[in-house]
Amino acid sequence: MGGACPAPAPGARVYCGLSGGVDSALAAALLVEAGYDVTAVYMRNWSRDLPGFRCPWAQELADAERVAVTLGIDLEVWDCEAEYKATVVDYLVDAYARGRTPNPDVMCNQTIKFGTFLERALSEGADFVATGHYGRVARGEDGRVSLLRALDEHKDQTYFLWRVGADALARALLPVGEVRDKAEVRRMCAERGLGVENKPDSDGICFVGPVGIRTFLLDALERRAGDVVEWETGRVLGRHDGAFLFTVGQRRGLDLGGGPARYVVGTDVEKNVVYVTADHDSPALFCREVELDDVRWVSGEPPAPGRYLVRTRHTGELREAELAGGVLRFDEPVRRVAPGQSAVLYDGLRCLGGGIVC
């Protein structure tokens, strides 16, 4: 990352990503109040430009501008479309085409917010970057930096930050991670007259928006008719319009003309087959081990083999598991995790990093 990293202190130059949402608005406000020299940046990411896909970014930018004017800080608009398209959108489509279920937010944090944005901010003279993420950066006496879960465990977003390395985190300020809960965040925004406190939480994949992943994928990938097969018997139960549209554990979106609820146990995108079961407790829906691919560790060093807390979905349960040789072994069978999802390891509050589930 180049250059010695200063300790965060009043007067330091901070480029704060401002999305138009509640969390980043409060982050910017808290930094201004703490005496930082704050410049807000609205990152314009990739969005669909087709009739019917209403892209809300103009509205989001307008909200970000209102926050910046209220706080009396500069707002720059950075065009991150090309990088976003290449590293997040294409990654998402490509992973789905290969039958995986990726986490685009993980890639966005790694390559855009703590990649492109961080690098450009530093090159323009920033000492730090800030975002509205729910997470905490702990700076040790020895200069070591670690990532901790947010004070608000229900909102914690470290599950999406596991690929951000310590050198990037050393330059990061995440003020919202220190706030008690989301209600408090909204209250603090309202107190400051930021005008965004009543905006809904934006869960889900930002660029897919309200149309949903299915519509989005069907626009990017070719529909292809195939069989829905009962896993236990091999019997064909119906047809689907593309195995890439289905994910392990999925229940909705199977059009099998009545009968019991059925769950996807797996897909074969090459043969274009979706396997399902009517048995909610089918062994095919559980696993004891998860193999990790594309591992990344916050400190740069893999953790020693041993027992850690593991999370396999955002704000999902933290379970204990044994890490050994790139494989996580749970004490008891757990619901199967779709290939492409992240498995994130924690030592207490500390997020260590993780891997992509194979």
Partner: protein, 411 residues
């Protein structure tokens, strides 16, 4: 029906965006009321109650036609000016000529034809001889708006009609059969300028109710006898088959009433607005002498109620937010352009340097505007600009030098 009082302008703040939207005049609302309630009948139905409503639609058509000096049978009601413009362009297939600062609906329609876009001057005015040069033997439509809604210039449509007439005469002599028509979008003009189709010399004319204290999504296209309009909306064959769909009876009655009121008030209102605009201009220049005022210098070539000002290097988008907090509503560029990340095509076309274009406010006055409101707006704008100057560490001397330099390099 009880008369609903017009929403009065609040004692605090100011609304200076009448080019974007006008409030419904109480008299227009009163005229429309019965058709939203008791007289709800479908004009196409056969019984007497419905025939009465049909007559009212035709009366509204006759009224609007009379007020633009035309015969009623050539007037088509549409859902707003954008549709009327689309309908005008759908009447031809061949080459079209437009100018660079037309409304987006005209530019987008022109984009579906072979076309030539005529440049405008620094003041936004179209040179009629440039239009004459742009006309080719296969040009079928020339479309030049009567008045521009962003910088307020009033185009020499009458002179342009002479160029079109000359080309028509030439084709007649040469035995060429391709027709050529002149269209003008008079949406922004109808409140303050005469919109007589004969004195303008046009073949097609667009009107909008929404800009003259009538309802939104109501407009009209007038076309001369020899123009064959082609429908864009198919169905039951209403509006002579050109625009199907059950008539928006309340809407067209509202348009007719709004046009009547506009014509009655036009001369007096134009003078009143021009005086208010002068007050606004003088007030701003007194407090912020380096304000850049755009548009034609000749008063006859400007919309009386529109003032376009630019504050060099100050972000207008931030001014709008600061003003909004004082209850002052102003436009920046056209509303459409503001939602995208680019400078308005109008300011680009007049060659305005970016630091001025991005610091531009469009201030438009209307019927309810008062001197007090203008004075409040002047003070609020000054406060907003000065607060941005303080944030950026700028003073009047710096700004004056900057504005002078930008203007010198531009005009």
């Amino acid at each position: 029906m009880t008369q609903v009082p017009a929403e009065r302008v609040p004692a605090r703040g100011a609304y200076l965006d009448y080019a974007a939207a006008t409030p419904l005049d109480p008299e227009v609302l009163e005229a429309m009321g019965p058709y939203l309630t008791g007289r709800f009948y479908n004009p196409s139905a056969p019984y007497e109650l419905a025939r009465g409503v049909r007559d009212d639609v035709e009366r509204a058509r006759a009224t609007v036609a009379r007020l633009i000096g035309a015969r009623p049978d050539n007037l088509v009601f549409t859902a707003g000016a954008t549709e009327a413009n689309n309908l005008a362009f759908a009447a031809v297939e061949g080459h079209v000529v437009v100018d660079a600062i037309e409304h987006e609906s005209v530019l987008a329609c022109a984009g579906t034809h072979a076309r030539r876009t005529v440049r405008v001057g620094r003041d936004g005015l179209v040179d009629p001889s440039a239009v004459a040069r742009a006309i080719r033997p296969d040009t079928e439509l020339v479309s030049i708006e009567l008045a521009n809604g962003e910088i307020g210039c009033v185009q020499p449509v009458r002179e342009i009609s002479r160029a079109v007439a000359e080309e028509r005469a030439r084709r007649l002599e040469a035995g060429e059969r391709t027709p050529i028509y002149l269209h003008t979008d008079a949406s922004q003009a109808a409140g303050c300028l005469s919109v007589n189709v004969s004195s303008l010399g046009v073949d097609l004319l667009t009107l909008s109710a929404a800009k003259i204290y009538g309802p939104k999504q109501v407009g009209a296209l007038w076309a001369a006898d020899d123009v064959r309009l082609r429908p864009l909306v198919y169905g039951g064959g209403q509006e002579g088959g050109v625009r199907s769909g059950t008539e928006n009876v309340a809407g067209v009655v509202g348009l007719a009433r709004a046009m009547e009121l506009a014509c009655e008030r036009r001369a007096r209102e134009a003078r009143r607005l021009a005086a208010l605009r002068e007050r606004l201009r003088a007030g701003l220049l007194e407090r912020l002498p380096w304000t850049v005022v755009s548009g034609p210098r000749n008063a006859r070539r400007r919309l009386p109620g529109l003032l376009h000002v630019a504050f060099a290097g100050i972000e207008a988008r931030r001014l709008v937010i600061a003003l909004e907090r004082e209850g002052v509503s102003v436009g920046t560029g056209s509303a459409c352009a503001a939602s995208r990340m680019r400078v308005s095509h109008v300011l680009e076309a007049i060659g305005m340097p970016r630091p001025l274009a991005e610091g531009s406010l469009r201030l438009t006055l209307g019927l309810p505007t008062t001197e007090d409101e203008v004075d409040r707006a002047v003070l609020a704008i000054e406060r907003a600009v000065r607060s941005e100057m303080a944030r950026l560490g700028l003073d009047d001397a710096v700004q004056a030098a900057r504005a002078a330099e930008l203007v010198a390099g531009w005009r």
